[in-house]
């Protein structure tokens, strides 16, 4: 019997599970849930006296040990010193190609997103890239992206990194690099395998019986609601406030 939890708490706990074993994880400045998952893993490892987890929050002054400017993240990554990173996209397709540029014809995109950022580098070099997109819709998960900011797989080049898993607000997928295909691993409480199928624009593998995403246990929830929320307040104050408000409303 596990305690009650919100979908956001489930996502954060799942991120921590996906990161298990990493030494250094980098997180974007506007990615509170991946950051929360990384902080949860760090706290968990500390309590279990397991290996220390370093977290670099890009753009943060407190959670950033780089001294060589913006280029250091990329140098550090190319040296193999970043084990995990998160990428998203306005569109993601069934071969794990990601589009951070825009929808419609390029360059005069009908809907223009910010741009590739470091994706056309990080996706190739970070061994464990977790694709994260909370919105699970056929608008995001398309048969083929309109623009490939970075491809899911590459042949014939040096590429130690790539997609490890994809986590959405509805489910968790694994990715098979050989077959260039996602497989549905689990659905979050409140959703069904059919919901996922209906809201995903690309084809993927799925077992006959799709399990429910592992619920966070009481110890995880306690950490999340205490220490992790506090830690989040420094870099993501509005997100931390939202988590507190969500809990208050549920109580």
């Amino acid at each position: 019997m596990s305690a009650d939890y919100s979908n956001r708490e489930l996502i954060i706990a799942t991120v921590a599970d996906l990161l298990d074993g990493v030494r250094h994880v980098a997180v974007g400045a506007s990615s509170p849930m991946p950051a929360a998952g990384a902080m949860l893993l760090r706290a968990r490892n500390e309590l279990a006296k397991k290996q220390r987890v370093r977290i670099s929050i890009l753009g943060s002054e407190e959670h950033n040990f780089f001294t060589n400017g913006g280029v250091e993240l990329f140098d550090c990554t190319a040296q193999g010193r970043v084990d995990a990173f998160f990428l998203g996209g306005g569109q993601i397709d069934g071969e794990a190609n990601i589009n951070l540029v825009g929808a419609g014809p390029y360059p005069q995109s009908d809907v223009r997103w910010p741009g590739c950022f470091g994706s056309a580098f990080m996706y190739y070099l970070v061994p464990r890239v977790i694709l994260f997109r909370e919105e699970h819709s056929s608008r995001v998960f398309v048969p083929k992206v309109d623009y490939i900011s970075a491809p899911g797989v590459s042949d014939g080049i040096v590429r130690p990194g790539g997609p490890h898993a994809m986590l959405t607000g509805m489910c968790l997928f694994s990715f098979d690099k050989e077959r260039k295909r996602f497989a549905l691993k689990s659905v979050h409480r409140g959703f069904t395998a059919r919901d996922v199928r209906e809201n995903t624009g690309f084809d993927y593998d799925a077992p006959d019986i799709v399990p429910e995403t592992k619920a966070p246990d009481a110890a995880t929830l306690e950490l999340l609601r205490g220490r992790i929320t506090e830690e989040l307040s420094e870099s993501y104050p509005s997100f931390a406030d939202m988590l507190r408000a969500e809990r208050k409303a549920a109580a």
Partner: protein
């Protein structure tokens, strides 16, 4: 070298058609100087964002001063998408050179070293290569079967940023924002606005000297208190989120943008 001038004199360095390097929001953006530049209306700027931009780039686009935009992203951060950028993209108002962050750094580092190009991992298989025909794939000359991208050196005509402090000898404190050193060494000219000028040399002690851009690489300096506003300045003040959100809302239409810019330039004229 490192001559201390008025904001207007500094802004005059940015002339029509020039290749202008600007830093990301976390590095110190010369917003007061941007107002002064806009007043001069230098057209056809080739803006190189190191490696991304926000409000500054959006304003230059909205004012119709950008001919080429070379960037890895344009965003107003928490306030959302950059409205004048998005509108300009739809209308094809400028030539777009989409990039990826480390490629911009690599191009500047090549110029910093005085070499024509630098190799970089990744990128192969990205649609970036369809339009970035200036990026080439070569065979690693030391290892068979290892195709790799090379990006050409980026030499800006002018690099501009805002920093906490310069000394009266023209040295500028840049802390750990080392990309500012790369930008300045890569560029033909570097102009810097600062919160204040100190009397003692920043190179006088080992502790301060490590985080300094020496006057050798600095062309002109102007004092602009709170010169990064509404953006923040590292170690000094935080971003004025309410003001950035106000800009994001107003700049959704050309009229709203014009109204915002009217107030923005007036504020800096009055402060000067």
């Amino acid at each position: 070298m490192g001559e201390i001038v008025s904001l207007e004199e500094l802004a005059a360095e940015v002339t029509p058609g020039c290749k202008l390097a600007v830093p990301a929001d976390y590095c110190g953006v010369a917003m007061a100087a941007t107002a002064a530049i806009i007043a001069n209306r230098p057209k056809d700027l080739h803006v190189v964002c190191v490696p991304v931009t926000g409000m500054q780039g959006d304003m230059l686009i909205g004012e119709g001063l950008v001919g080429v935009l070379e960037t890895s992203a344009v965003t107003l951060g928490e306030a959302g998408g950059a409205p004048r950028f998005q509108d300009g993209v739809r209308k094809g108002a400028f030539k777009l050179m989409d990039a990826t962050c480390p490629a911009v750094h690599s191009g500047l580092i090549a110029a910093q070293k005085g070499v024509p190009f630098l190799p970089i991992r990744g990128i192969i298989g990205s649609d970036l290569l369809k339009t970035r025909t200036d990026w080439k794939i070569i065979d690693n000359p030391f290892q068979k079967g290892d195709p790799i991208i090379v990006v050409p050196a980026i030499q800006p005509d002018v690099a501009i940023f805002h920093a906490p402090e310069a000394d009266r000898f023209g040295n500028v404190r840049i802390g750990r924002r080392r990309e500012l050193v790369t930008m300045a060494q890569a560029a033909k000219a570097t102009i810097v606005t600062v919160e204040r000028i100190s009397e003692t040399s920043l190179l006088a002690s080992e502790d301060s000297a490590a985080g300094v851009l020496p006057a050798l690489y600095v062309t002109k300096i102007a004092v602009a208190p709170r010169g990064a506003w509404p953006l923040g300045l590292w170690g000094e003040y935080a971003v004025d989120s309410a003001e950035v959100a106000r800009y994001a809302a107003m700049a959704k239409t050309p009229e709203g943008f014009a109204a915002y810019m009217d107030g923005f330039s007036r504020r800096f004229r009055e402060a000067a």
